[in-house]
């Protein structure tokens, strides 16, 4: 808060607090939110920290829909903006998420997953919003969905979320679960110089030449803030390169295809997967979030027992890392997908697997984490 820290620092923090630290490190200067268990600690942390920064703004809104509105408006005005919520709030946000996709507004939305559906289990973990994060809003849209495994990851993936949002002019959803958000662990706060921060590109041509939604060489149109001299139109209607509404077939097709291409072209950057003992594995575990942590130990224990197990810890859930899976299933007979839902990620795995290996699911939906033992037992069964 006083002199700029230029060395790493250790703190003992909640997953929620790590998100706050990551956001501030990434340059987030706007938070608009609404309280909901188990995400409120993120909001409270931002409420306390933002007004102490040079231009930070915090506002609590009347509901989650309003929260999304403010962060979209703030991002249009040039801020790196974020909100956090859980299941019921995430459902309310869907319309605006689609609006942010259509208007290509950078945003970070943190969803701390809890038992669902509906009011569900406010204080218990689940992983049941995975498909919703990809397809919760109507219409064909691209979106980036990330996941964090432990408290240090909460910090790291928040920074990554902001970087992707800025690079690709898209909302980015970061999925956590109630356990990770409410667990305290020792983490390292990197020195600001030690992390890579990306900010949205600004146009270099004069305003008369600027077309806000034109495909550029880089694949992502530059985005000036409102009031900087580039006066253009944002709308949720399907629009042309100028931003004006259109319903002409060729313009519509072009606009939507470009939005997909914007993400598709950069799979190599966006799809982050941690491999553990996966190079020669015969049984592969594909996991994410807190379950990947249990899986890590289970894989080590299986190897001690002579089972050639391996783990893919998905940090990027969508676009689904097909390449990472295909790279390692060469020798595999089985893929195991443990998740705290009724089988949402396994659908993606099955799709990519395309019948090559046997895909086993290990589902837990009782409000408790899948334990290392449960995964090991399944690995031992083969």
């Amino acid at each position: 808060m006083t002199a700029k820290r230029n060395t790493p620092k250790e703190i003992f923090a909640l997953g929620a607090e790590a998100v706050v630290e990551g956001a501030l490190l990434a340059g987030c200067s706007f938070y608009g939110g609404y309280p909901i268990t188990p995400s409120s600690e993120i909001m409270e942390g931002m409420a306390a920290r933002l007004p102490k920064t040079e231009k930070g703004v915090f506002i609590q809104m009347e509901d989650e829909i309003a929260s999304m509105g403010t962060v979209i408006g703030a991002s249009m005005a040039g801020r790196k903006a974020m909100t956090a919520t859980s299941g019921p709030g995430f459902s309310l946000m869907q319309e605006f998420i689609g609006y942010a996709c259509m208007t290509e507004v950078p945003l970070v939305i943190v969803n701390v997953m809890r038992g669902g559906p509906s009011t569900g289990l406010p204080t218990s973990p689940a992983q049941g919003d995975v498909q919703q994060a990809r397809w919760g809003t109507h219409g064909d849209h691209s979106i980036i969905v990330l996941s964090a495994t432990d408290v240090q990851d909460c910090l790291q993936m928040t920074v990554t979320a902001f970087n992707f949002a800025e690079k690709y002019r898209t909302p980015v959803i970061l999925l956590l679960d109630e356990i990770t958000a409410h667990t305290r662990e020792k983490i390292t706060l990197p020195a600001p110089n030690d992390i890579e921060i990306f900010s949205r590109l600004q146009p270099t041509m004069p305003p008369e030449w600027y077309k806000p939604f034109e495909e550029t060489v880089r694949g992502v149109p530059p985005m000036p803030p409102l009031g900087a001299g580039y006066r253009f139109h944002y709308t949720g209607l399907t629009h042309d390169d100028h931003g004006f509404p259109t319903s002409k077939a060729d313009e519509v097709a072009s606009a939507i295809s470009r939005q997909f291409r914007k993400i598709d072209q950069f799979f190599f950057d966006i799809q982050i997967v941690d491999e553990h003992q996966a190079e020669d594995c015969e049984i592969l575990v594909v996991a994410f979030g807190c379950v990947a942590r249990s899986a890590h130990l289970a894989v080590d224990q299986a190897r001690e027992l002579g089972i050639k197990a391996g783990l893919l810890n998905l940090k990027t859930l969508f676009p689904f890392p097909r390449g990472a899976v295909e790279k390692v299933i060469g020798n595999c007979k089985t893929i195991l997908v443990p998740e705290m839902n009724m089988g949402q990620m396994s659908r993606e795995v099955k799709r990519v697997n395309d019948g090559r290996c046997k895909v086993k699911t290990l589902n837990r939906i009782d409000g408790h984490i899948i334990t290392p033992k449960q995964i090991l037992d399944s690995l031992r069964k083969g």
């Binding site: 706007f30 040079e54 509901d63 403010t70």
Partner: protein
């Protein structure tokens, strides 16, 4: 007249295709004209103006004008506008919404924006109907009137937007009509300059979806109705209650000087950062 036309043209987007989408007789163009004249008279630079509009016929206004323009999702323009104003308080953020957008789906955001007194200029173009979607009943459709969803007459009473906004805590509350244009211009200038939540309801005719289903033969009849129904607030207050009938007062109803939210927040930041050494 040529001057005014020239002036308006200076503010229209060159690259946007015309003709516009509004019906003959629609009052929205009158509101836009008043807005442009006020911006010009006040000397506000185009780059400093952000128009945020809701969904509906009034939502179609901003695309034609050479400002920073945002066409929001239905009912939520105030939330986007709040984010913009809090992020950059130097901008003049003007919100344009219809009655359905602002008070039905947007009702919750409306009362909170007024309550928190965020520095926005808020225009609600009240044509008593959901026009764009074909004439369904809105929360300002007069009781007893016909609409496609109240074919037996609207059963519910309608909002009085002035009372609602005043009670919610807005700094400034005013009402005008698209007939009383000189008054409208004065009210508009007020709405664009006073700090805090600055509300202007504009009564405007929709003949296509509301008027012709409710006994107005043509748009001119609707303007005549505005002329005879609306009256200045001072005169209205002097009228005995039993003489008021269906008359609607126009003018300035509330004018406070409470600190706008974005100013309070900047002060908090200064205070917190000044307190540390």
């Amino acid at each position: 007249m040529a001057e005014v036309t020239q002036l308006i043209h200076n503010y229209l987007r060159r690259d946007k295709k015309f003709p516009h989408v509004f019906c003959p007789g629609c009052g929205h163009g009158i509101v836009l004209g008043s807005l442009i004249r006020s911006v010009h008279a006040l000397g506000i630079p185009k780059d400093d103006v952000v128009l945020v509009a809701g969904i509906g016929c009034s939502g179609r206004i901003p695309v034609y004008v050479d400002f920073n323009t945002v066409h929001a999702v239905h009912g939520r323009a105030l939330t986007i506008a709040t984010g913009i104003k809090m992020a950059n308080p130097k901008l003049h953020v003007i919100v344009i919404m219809g009655d359905g957008d602002a008070l039905s789906i947007g009702g919750n955001h409306f009362i909170h924006a007024a309550r928190r007194n965020i520095g926005l200029s808020v225009l609600v173009l009240n044509n008593f109907i959901y026009g764009m979607t074909g004439g369904q009943c809105s929360s300002t459709t007069p009781q007893g009137d016909w609409s496609t969803t109240t074919p037996y007459g609207a059963m519910e009473k309608s909002f009085d937007l002035v009372e609602l906004t005043s009670a919610a805590g807005a700094n400034h509350v005013a009402r005008g009509t698209t007939f009383h244009v000189k008054t409208l211009d004065k009210l508009m200038a007020n709405t664009l300059t006073k700090p805090g939540f600055n509300f202007l309801e504009v009564l405007t005719p929709c003949h296509t979806q509301y008027g012709r289903k409710n006994k107005f033969k043509n748009p001119v009849e609707m303007y005549k109705w505005l002329k005879s129904t609306a009256m200045p607030l001072e005169a209205y207050n002097k009228l005995a209650p039993e003489k008021r009938g269906d008359r609607i007062p126009i003018g300035i109803f509330q004018s406070r000087e409470e600190t706008p939210l974005e100013v309070s927040y900047e002060n908090l930041r200064k205070q917190l950062r000044g307190a540390k050494s």
